[in-house]
């Protein structure tokens, strides 16, 4: 006999005494051989183009349906062969009667070039006879013992398989849904064989399974992780990393993003003394927590700075209030009033998280804090302009000093004087405003030009001009003081 030069696989498939059927991933029947048609009592036309469950209907709630469906799904998910040692799957006879049948089936995936399942080949064996043998055995006793045992064993194996499959599925779900990231790396080449949803999210949902770490995540090569993994695998010593920075490619971008991770590299050792087969990676993305801590440190540092600055201002106010020659009781009052004005300005800033305060409210708050009920003798008018925090404090203190001066010597030192505070603003272009504030006192006692420039006057003249890049003129008119502040300032954002 000479060997044929080419083997006709189609003919071989057709002529095989073993029943075979080929289904597509959507379980549509594509082809089958004669043995299959004979076993299922169907014609080719009845089957081709239908799905497995259309061709052989069964209740989706039945064990038969579930077992068969799950087996196909496992093949589609894993790309690996799946066996059903025993499955009851009744089929309808041409007469319309339903016949009880028992089958043993193997589902073998046929992969395409990309490694995806193109077809599933079912090899099915009708083992209904075993069932009948069992009945005979029960009648004939010992003679059929062997066959009964075979059946029992097959049944037990199938039950055990079902339990194992369910457990595996449960573990897989747990692994997949675990809040921390988990991956398994295999061998010296560090190939990803498993990675859960959190891990895939961490690496921007890249396709990493089956690839080595350096192929899957090229950006980490120079970040020391590959060497670290190799050390863990060869020494068998786990590595615990806390707050480790890693730069990973963001999804759909070449941009590197910094993440901060707590993680463990745990060597996978089958037996004590053996080299690790791979590395189990498990951890948490603590980037947000880390950033919150950094932000908190910044805030505390900033708070410290502000407290120190405020203490310096208080120190300066004390020095000015208690300077040589002042009556101690008056000095104390002056100091208290200044602290009060500073506190009022801080209240305003706190309302806006210390980002700044509005001009209108800054003037009003300072006037109210100093003049109390006399606030009704003020006219305050002008557009609202957001002021940076430091400027708001300086302006509040300047207004306080003007108020104090008015109460002591000016329009508020009698019962009828009034104070008019108004301002206009002119936009000088991006981020720069020209502001003209005019403080006019009327109806007070005749004004005398002070002999000595006190702290208040100096603060207004120099302090504000320093702070607001401005020019201040103090006009001690006999009918009342007029103070004009012309300032250029950058409003708060």
């Amino acid at each position: 006999m000479t060997a044929p030069s080419t083997i006709d696989f189609e003919a071989l498939f057709g002529a095989s005494p073993n029943p075979y059927v080929l289904v597509a991933p959507d379980l549509r029947i594509e082809a089958m051989n004669e043995a299959y048609l004979a076993a299922t009592l169907r014609t080719r036309d009845e089957l081709v183009g239908k799905t497995m469950f259309e061709a052989f209907p069964s209740d989706p709630e039945s064990d038969s349906y579930k077992l068969l469906y799950a087996s196909f799904q496992r093949v589609l998910e894993t790309g690996k062969r799946d066996e059903l040692a025993l499955i009851r799957y009744d089929i309808s006879l041409p007469s319309g009667e339903i016949e009880q049948r028992y089958w043993s089936a193997t589902h073998t995936p046929m992969l395409d070039e990309d490694g995806k399942v193109a077809f599933i080949m079912q090899h099915t064996v009708d083992v209904t006879e075993l069932q009948q043998l069992r009945q005979i055995a029960s009648e004939a006793g010992r003679a059929a013992r062997t066959e009964t045992d075979v059946y029992r064993r097959a049944h037990a194996v199938q039950e055990a398989n079902q339990t194992l499959v369910a457990e595996t599925q449960q573990l897989r779900t747990l692994f997949e849904q675990a809040p921390g990231f988990v991956a398994v790396l295999d061998g010296p080449e560090q190939k990803f064989i498993m990675a859960n949803a959190a891990y895939r999210r961490l690496v921007g949902d890249r396709n990493i399974i089956g690839k080595t770490v350096s192929e899957a995540l090229p950006e980490v090569v120079d970040q020391g992780f590959i060497r670290l993994l190799e050390t863990v695998r060869t020494t068998g010593e786990p590595f615990i990393g806390r707050g480790v920075r890693v730069f990973l490619k963001a999804e759909d971008s070449d941009q590197l993003e910094e993440r901060v991770l707590d993680f463990i590299y745990q060597p996978i050792v089958a037996r004590a003394g053996e080299t690790a087969a791979g590395v189990f990676v498990q951890g948490h993305d603590v980037t947000e927590q880390y950033r919150a801590e950094e932000h908190q440190k910044l805030l505390i540092n900033e708070l410290n700075h502000r407290v120190k600055n405020t203490l310096s201002i208080v120190q300066a106010l004390a020095m000015q209030s208690f300077s040589d020659g002042n009556d101690p009781a008056i000095a104390r009052q002056t100091f208290d009033a200044r602290l009060n004005a500073l506190s009022a300005a801080h209240n305003l800033l706190t309302l806006q998280n210390w980002e700044g305060a509005g001009l209108v409210e800054t003037v009003r708050a300072s006037v109210s804090a100093t003049a109390g009920a006399n606030v009704s003798r003020f006219t305050i008018e002008g557009p609202e302009i957001p002021l940076p925090a430091q400027t708001a404090v300086s302006l509040a203190m300047a207004v306080h000093e003007l108020c104090t001066n008015a109460i002591k010597h000016g329009a508020l030192s009698n019962d009828s004087g009034t104070v008019d505070v108004r301002w206009t603003a002119e936009d000088l272009g991006p981020g720069l405003v020209s502001l003209a504030i005019v403080w006019t006192e009327n109806g007070g006692p005749p004004v005398q030009v002070p002999e000595r420039r006190g702290f208040g006057t100096r603060l207004i003249e120099r302090g504000l001009s320093a702070e607001l890049r401005s020019q201040v003129t103090m006009d001690f008119r006999p009918e009342g003081l007029q103070c004009i502040i012309v300032a250029k300032l950058s409003p708060a954002e």
């Binding site: 203490l311 300066a316 000015q320 430091q390």
Partner: protein, 121 residues
Amino acid sequence: MTFDGATILVLEDEPIIGLALEDMLVSRGATVLYVSRMEEAHEALAQIEIDAAILDVNVHGRMSYPVAESLTERTIPFIFATGYGDSSHPPEFRAVPTIAKPYSAAELEAALDRASGNGSV
């Protein structure tokens, strides 16, 4: 360091603190050149002979190190005053005496003494 007759540049963006510092120095016989912005500090250095300087580190959100550089070039003794307790200067200014706000007159004098090598300015 004796203040009597010395001209001292004060760079401080908080006017109230600046005024108090000025008084502290003036009462010891110094003449004070008070500026609140870095540009003004540079202008002052270009025009006026000064004997020493006190620099606030953070001036309207910017670091005053460029002014410190000009002072170093002119070999004018200076000190830093800062509200940041843990501030760390660039290497070239690590040796510059630094006082933390709020500071006392004694601390200020001691720091200026160290800056000027204990001599009179």
